[in-house]
Amino acid sequence: MNAAQEFNFSIEATKNYLNVNYSVKSWLFTRDHKRIGLLYLFSIIFFFFIAAMAAALMRLELLTPEGDLVLADTYNKLFTIHGVLMVWFFLIPSIPATLGNFVIPLMLGARDVAFPRINLLSWYLFIFGGGVTLYSIIIGGVDTGWTFYTPYSSAYSNSYVVMMVVGVFVAGFSSILTGLNFIVTIHKMRAPGLTWMRLPLFIWSMYATSLILVLATPVLAITLFLIALERLWQVGIFNPALGGDPILFQHLFWFYSHPAVYIMILPGMGVVSELIACFSRKQIFGYTFVAFSSLAIAVLGFLVWGHHMFVSGQSVYAGMIFSLLSFLVAIPSAVKVFNWTATLYRGSISLKTPMIYALGFIGLFTLGGMTGIFLATLGVDVHVTDTYFVIAHFHYIMVGGMVLAFMGGLHYWWPKITGRLYPEKMGQLSALITFIGFNLTFFPQFIAGYLGMPRRYHAYAAEFQIYNVLSTAGASILGVGYVLPIFYFLWSLWFGKKASMNPWDARGLEWQTASPPSQYNFEQTPIVTEQTHAYPLLTSEKTLRKVMHVR
């Protein structure tokens, strides 16, 4: 494959996972978690840019209130493409399947994941699902939105719903397999001495994420299957005209999709914990609390799906219970934010690119999280749900949060993945551009939303225009922030400085092997004798033990 040959110029003859073998076949049939991680990386970047093109077109359309750039139908297909690709083919696999695949075995001191062949299979399922989804777009598209609400999707939409649903269905199996693989790997493949309380926080978050992947995704599969049943054979499940119940779909859909939101954010939290620890040279303040907050989020995340349905016609009591539980899930998230901030106290902070991304994550995630409180508050949600307020909220979490964490993690592990350093100044610049562009794009949407601009509108009332103009301007800046790294990352492959084994002087087993690692990761299995983030400026060892003891 080309990428591999390109590396050939720069990486000297020492054998590592990239240059052991150059054939296309060696990549397509690889069972090496690192290569599979890279396969995923290329795939999700591809999907991301298609989805981003759709977003760019939508934002251009929304410059003027009239809806004069594309037809209403086209606009509806655009936001469906954007939503479906971003959620299932970018966000959900982003950190787990790329960075997770690459670093989990390294962090555990293992040779590979527990089931290397299944790992490869899940990439093929992912690509197959993505291919089917793209095909459904090429032959005409789907206009239901990524939420596929029934009975619109199951009975009324005149588009390729079944095809797209099949694509997402197949991709779901890829998620399940990845989740299973990680759970077994984390349980079974830890190096001697690497106890649960010594695990990196990234592993904790990936563990929680995998639990959700395995438990929630089957519900998505069933739900999608039922849509197809009703569409193809008029089985009355969701359409009242056939004796079905339209609300049932929403329960099923959100029972998957709410936990899925945590699939999209927990890995980001894990990455950020690594970055904050490394670049302030300290163990994360309250390690145990941060670790268990991931599990708490995963568990509570299963109980709050009804907060997407406060105006759907569910009972008042159901609404109140879902609201209450939603507030509870806010607490473990808040715990993380407080602990990250506290970690900086008495740290030794360097504002390298990954750290800037991590701090950006905390900023955007905090605003996204606080606006989540607005949405969990019943009386307020009634007004803002299904408006741009919601759009802004979830972009703050998923794009502001997850994409920043992904970029931070990619910069952090880039030297390990490629053996090359990216240009630091360029990295800092693009992090800054992303942060500014992001806020300009999405902050105005909170205001437009409270003013009452509904989402999924291809034409809108003139008074909302100013906020849409700001938002489109911001999106152009944000686009620069996303494209810039592609250039300097590519540049670094040829011209970047060679990376040492541990360029950040970081802790963690992944830094105790060559950059890039050899095919089997470690010369010999490492033995762990201390906390993974045992940075020199440790929060006093004694207090740490005390906290763990009290638990």
Partner: protein
């Protein structure tokens, strides 16, 4: 291009929602100060180039953790209570209300007033009175969103949902469909016109000569042959409908159901589903024979047969 910052507020409820919203905005600002004030301070103070005290912490992190778990917990519980209080009010319309029927369909809002006046994508209401919307959809899910009153409610096929408001300001405001419903979703919009009561009376009278819903319902009741069974003179054994609305009805299977709009609708369309105790299962289904508007007329008629219930009760505004 104008720079509106806050939506017009047209009801007491809107004012209350705004108050809670602004409280949350203030809370958000405070939380940001608490989190990012120290963070920015630390970023300067503890830069790696600075010479500062970096000795390990001497206090127990457990106490700190508990503080920042418990205080937010109390705060969000307060917000929960406040928000739920508003929500319960939003869900419970006062008893004395003008009931307007709304049918959503791709892609328009069809509206019927009790006096019989119909309109499309426009809703005329008098200022100061409680207006309750009883809504259903003919096809997919829509959502009836009136930003000026800060209310929104999904409109479902095969079900009735309701929302209510009491306008305080004369004017004309947005009405949006907020649940994605297909190609012309963003054109499924209209206006709500809040009028002085006497203008509203005039408006009702000016409309083409119409027949009040109750009357249309009564006619249908005769024409469809409902009265053949549901009357004193009938040989068939069917429940009398006088006074039934708003009362619990015992079912054959032993359950009780409240005879509300939905119960009546279901009894017309799906009579086999809920058999009233003591009556034979002989009622035919009228599914497919009636439009949503006609069902509304029948419901209005049957409701009117229980005049006491409809007028009693002094709901809070």
């Amino acid at each position: 291009m104008s720079f509106p910052f806050f939506p017009a507020s047209g009801s007491a409820m809107a004012t209350q929602v705004d108050r809670l919203f602004l409280f949350l905005v203030a809370l958000t600002i405070v939380v940001h100060l608490i989190v990012f004030g120290p963070m920015i301070f630390f970023l300067f103070k503890y830069r790696e180039s600075k010479k500062v005290d970096r000795s390990p912490l001497k206090f127990s992190t457990l106490k700190v953790e508990l503080v920042w778990i418990i205080i937010p917990l109390i705060l969000v519980m307060a917000v929960f209570a406040w928000g739920s209080h508003l929500y319960v009010n939003l869900q419970e319309p006062p008893k004395e209300a003008i009931e307007v029927n709304v049918v959503g369909k791709q892609w328009m809002w069809k509206i019927q007033h009790p006096e019989g006046n119909r309109e499309i994508n426009e809703l005329h209401v008098p200022v100061g009175s409680v207006v309750k919307l009883v809504m259903t959809s003919q096809d997919v899910i829509h959502s009836f969103f009136l930003p000026v009153f800060r209310i929104k409610q999904d409109v479902l096929p095969g079900r009735y949902t309701t929302e209510w408001f009491q306008a305080t300001k004369v004017g004309s405001y947005h009405l949006f469909c907020a649940e994605y419903c297909g190609t012309m979703h963003s054109h499924m919009i209209g206006r709500v016109h809040v009028m002085e009561p006497k203008d509203y009376e005039d408006w009702l009278r000016e409309g083409e000569p119409t027949e009040p819903l109750v009357q249309s319902g009564q006619k249908l009741f005769q024409e469809l042959g409902c009265s053949g069974c549901h009357s004193m003179q009938s040989q068939f054994h069917a429940p009398l409908l006088e006074g039934i609305f708003g009362r619990p009805v015992p079912l054959e299977e032993g359950r009780m159901v409240m005879a509300d709009e939905k119960y009546i609708r279901d009894s017309i369309l799906l009579p086999q589903l809920q058999i009233a105790a003591g009556y034979p299962n002989i009622m035919p289904s009228f599914e497919g024979r009636l439009s949503e508007e006609e069902i509304f007329q029948l419901v209005a008629y049957i409701k009117n047969l229980s005049p006491k219930k409809a007028k009693s009760g002094k709901g809070k505004p």
